[in-house]
Structures are given as C-alpha cells and as structure tokens.
C-alpha cells in the first residue's frame, strides 16, 4: 500500500486512472471490441465449423436480412410491443404512485407486493403464466369459459400470434411497471405537501392538482423512465422467448438466427441494425436523460 501511495500519491489523474483502469479495460474488451468485431462478422459468411475460416462477403448478409419478410414483421412486432409495454407500464406506475402517495396503514406491505414481480426471476413468473394459460387445464380457461362465459372453447393463449402478443404484453407490463412506480414514488415522497394543501383551499380538482403540481415535478423522471424502458423493451429477449414462440420480436429473431439457424453472419447483421436503431434513439434522448441523471 505504502509503495502505491508514493507512486500514485502526487496526482489525482494518475490515481483515478489506476482505480478506473480495471473497469475501463473490461468495458473496452467486452463492449468496445465486440462492437467492432460484430461489424466484421456481419460482413462474413461464418461456417458452422469454428475451425474453418470465415469468408468476407461484403454486404450480402445485410441484403439478405433486408429481403427477409420475417425481418419486417419482426420490426413491426417489436415497435408495437415497445409502444404498448412502455406506454402502459409507465402510466400504470404513475397512476399507482399518485394513488398511493398518502400515509396509510399497510403501505410498506403494499409497496413490497408491488415490486415482487420486478425482482422475482423472470423464469419463475413465466412458469406460472404458462401454467395459468395452459390450453387444457389452465385456470384462465376456467375463468373465460365457466365463470365469465365469454367463449365455450378455450383460446389458444400462447400458441396463437394475436393472443400471444397480448399476453406477453400484459406479462411485460406486470413485470416492468414497478420500475416506473419506484421512480415516481421517490419523487412524490420528497415533494412538499403544502402545495397540495394550498390547491385544496383553492378548490382544485385532482386532475388540476396533477397537471399543475405533480406533472412538472415528475417530468424529468418521466423522460428518463420512458427513455430507458423504451430501449430495454426494444431489445427484450428472455421474457418473450420463454413465454411463446409466436411473438417474434427482434431480440428473439436475432437469437434464433445465431443459435437456432446458426447463421452468425446474418445474426451479426441483425444486431448491427438493432444497434443503429437503439443508438439513434439514445442520441435523440441522451442530452435530456444525462441532464436528468446529473440532478
């Protein structure tokens, strides 16, 4: 230690670099380098046998991806999924945090229950959903047929694109809304109640109070929550892949191309396209979000 002190004692810059170097090295090796390597792979025909050399084929992989109707379907599904899940999970988190923003008995318990779906491993939740929506003995069949009497034949749930899309969306909303809830909750708790009291004296309605007091206070958080959630949902993989084979979002399309079709070149090309999408999005929101993060 004492040697290090002598060596690094003088300048902050040297010491900072010493402290940060392992992290920066890791990120350069495992984020920076792969980003570039990905571009190289995307221009190659990669044989199944790892011992054979890959062949440079220019933009062939991209051309094939852009010719694939599955790709456009996947882009469409991903965009719709992102809008639905981000929008509804954010609004739901916001409504709940405003609704529960008052002292009441059992608040801690309610808060813990709300974040359960967010922290519990996705796989465990997925097993339960696959059980609930089982085509033969799922409890949801019982609800829609015997209790509510909506249909007399059980829907195919996860085995049919339209219903699978809806169910996966509901699952993702349930899984992700606590993030929005927690973020808004943190802001609302730190707010000064006297503003609301003054508004009450003026006879303001709940909506007016929200518009004039709550909304301006949470707006920066709202921007962050929506931005991050948009990006994360856009490249979602695990939840969709394990729930159904009927919702082909870009993450699943990419994974299957790499590890089911075993076409690494094409998979790399897809991830570059995905990367460009996300990077454009990040650049668009970067200034705003970074500013919020620094506050």
């Amino acid at each position: 230690m004492s040697i290090k002190k002598k060596k690094l004692g003088g300048s902050d810059t040297k010491f900072a670099m010493f402290l940060l170097s392992p992290s920066i090295l890791l990120l350069v090796m495992l984020i920076g380098y792969p980003l570039i390597y990905n571009i190289v792979i995307s221009c190659q025909d990669v044989p199944l046998n790892p011992n054979l050399p890959s062949e440079f084929i220019g933009l062939q992989n991209y051309i094939e991806v852009f010719k694939d109707p599955e790709f456009y379907k996947s882009v469409f599904v991903t965009l719709s999924f992102t809008v639905v899940v981000t929008g509804i999970s954010t609004v739901l988190g916001l409504i709940l945090s405003v609704f529960l923003n008052r002292p009441f008995f059992g608040k801690k318990l309610v808060n813990s229950i709300i974040i359960l779906s967010y922290v519990v491993p996705a796989v465990c939740l997925i097993f339960t959903w696959r059980y609930m929506f089982n085509n033969i003995y799922g409890i949801m069949n019982y609800f829609v047929i015997d209790v509510l009497g909506i249909t007399d034949k059980a829907p195919l749930w996860f085995d049919q694109p339209a219903s699978a899309f809806i169910l996966v969306s509901i699952f993702a909303i349930w899984k992700f809304f606590p993030y929005a809830y927690l973020s808004f909750n943190a802001i609302l708790q730190s707010m000064d109640n006297s503003l609301y009291e003054a508004a009450d004296i003026d006879g303001a309605t709940s909506w007016e109070k929200f518009k004039v007091i709550t909304y301006p206070a949470i707006k920066p958080t709202l921007v962050t929550v929506v931005s991050l959630r948009t990006i994360w949902v856009f490249y979602i993989y695990t939840e969709v892949y394990l729930l159904t084979k009927q919702v082909n979002v870009l993450g699943v399309y990419l994974y299957d191309m790499a590890f089911a079709t075993h076409d690494f070149g094409k998979a790399a090309a897809i991830s570059i396209v995905l990367f460009v999408f996300i990077f454009a999005l990040i650049m668009l929101i970067r200034k705003k979000v970074l500013k919020v993060e620094e506050d």
């Binding site: 004492s2 922290v119 796989v123 970074l290």
Partner: protein
Amino acid sequence: MKKTNNKKILKGIWFYARVILVVLVLLFPFIIMLSISLKETAETIGYPPTIIPRNWEIQHFFDIFNANIFPFNKYMRNSLYIALATSVIAVLLGILGGYALSRLKFKGKSLISEMFFLVYMFSGILLIVPLFKMLSAIGLSNSREAVIICMIVQTLPTAIYMTRSYFDTIPAELEEAGRVDGLSRMGIIFRIVVPLSMSGIISVFVYAFMIAWNDVLFASIFIDSPELMTIPIGLNSLFNTPDYIWGRMMAASLVTSLPIVIMYGFSQRLIKSGSTAGGVKG
C-alpha cells in the same frame, strides 16, 4: 360534523377496497405459484382448477432437494457460484471506480462517466454473436466463467454509478482524519469511505447478485451441459421431460425467488432515500 365523519370513513373504505383489488390482481400469479407447489400432481392438472388445494402436500419442497429425483441442488450451486463471483467483483470494481468518479478531479472525467451511462443502456443481446465467438475462441464455451465475465460487464456501469452516488454523500473532511493518521490512499478508501457507505455497498451487491441470479440469456448461450446449468436455464430445460412435475417446478420457483426477495427487501430497508431505486435494470 357527523356527516363529514361518515364521509371520511366511506372514503377510507373505498380507498382500501381499491388497494386490495390492486394487490389481489398483482399477487394472483404468486398465489397460483404457491397453491400449485402445495398440491398433489393429479390436482394440478385437474379440471376445474382449484386455488386452495383440496389435499395439502408439502412433499414437493422435499423432493426438489433430493438429488436422486430432481437436479435442483446442482443448479443452485452453479447459480450461487455465478451470482457470488459476479457481485463480489462488481462491488470491488464499483468501489474503485465510484471513488474515482466521486472524489477525484481528473481530465476526461465527464467523458468516462458518460461512457458508463451509455453502456448502462445497452444489453448483451446486441453483442451475443461476437461475445460468443470471442469467449469460445479462448476456450470458455460451455463454462460458468464465461457467464460471470458477461454478468460483470452487464452490472459494472450501474455498480459504479450507484457507489459513486453513495460516496458523494460522505463528507470529504472525514478522509482528512485518515490522512493525518498516515493511511495510504487505498487505505482511506477501504478503511474510511467503504465502512461509512456499507448500506450503499450492500445494495450494489444485491443489485449485481440479482441480475446474475436471474439471468437467462448468457447462461443459455454459454452453458450446454446439465452439470453446469443455473437454476433459470436448468428448470427451463426440464420442460417436456419426465422430471417436469408442476408442483416441483413451482416449489423450485418459490425457493429460487426467496433469497432475491429477502435480499432486495433488506437492501431497500437500508436505503433511506429512494434516489437509487431506479438503479436496478430489468
């Protein structure tokens, strides 16, 4: 006066009614999970389904730990190994990086913290092809270590960011005392700053542990042999095999969720302000 009192009570009831409704909807899948884990197999696939088991059965919770009939112990060891290694290293690197960003003035600081933030927004799915090729090339295919390396990179930006914001709350004067006592700069970090921010460091640990424990993507890319599988991919691989018994799967799911829920609850209790609540990525 009485009228307003009644109105107040009615309002209270109406409020709690809505709270209970919300809680029931959110909890419903967990109730199902618990209920199946306590049912006999015949009842889990019977129709009409029941919520409260007709015959209570806790055998599944013993069965999953019986290595002869269910591979849960093996999966748990692998998950523990990966999650512990990830979180210990992420915490260590987080402390070093967080200290640099919180305390030291140096050129390129804002560039570096912006870089970390950009990485925070990326997910591994974008880089699975090159990462798989790179780590396979150095002999790490079908290994838990490949998963650990990827999980460290995934959690590192948030670990540094969280640690930094905790260190920001510790007055710099306290470090002076250490300097007077002749501590080295590393000594100041680990003997003064770290003990003072223990609650923050625990939540960083919990965050990294949780991300690694819950991971499916990297484990499924890098691990093929059942011997090395983590709980999530191991349990998922049991679908459509004779080992697939709903009661056991649900019992295993509950046992898998429990440490995470307890750890998360514990770390939330430690954090006074909610400012880092949004640090968890998922």
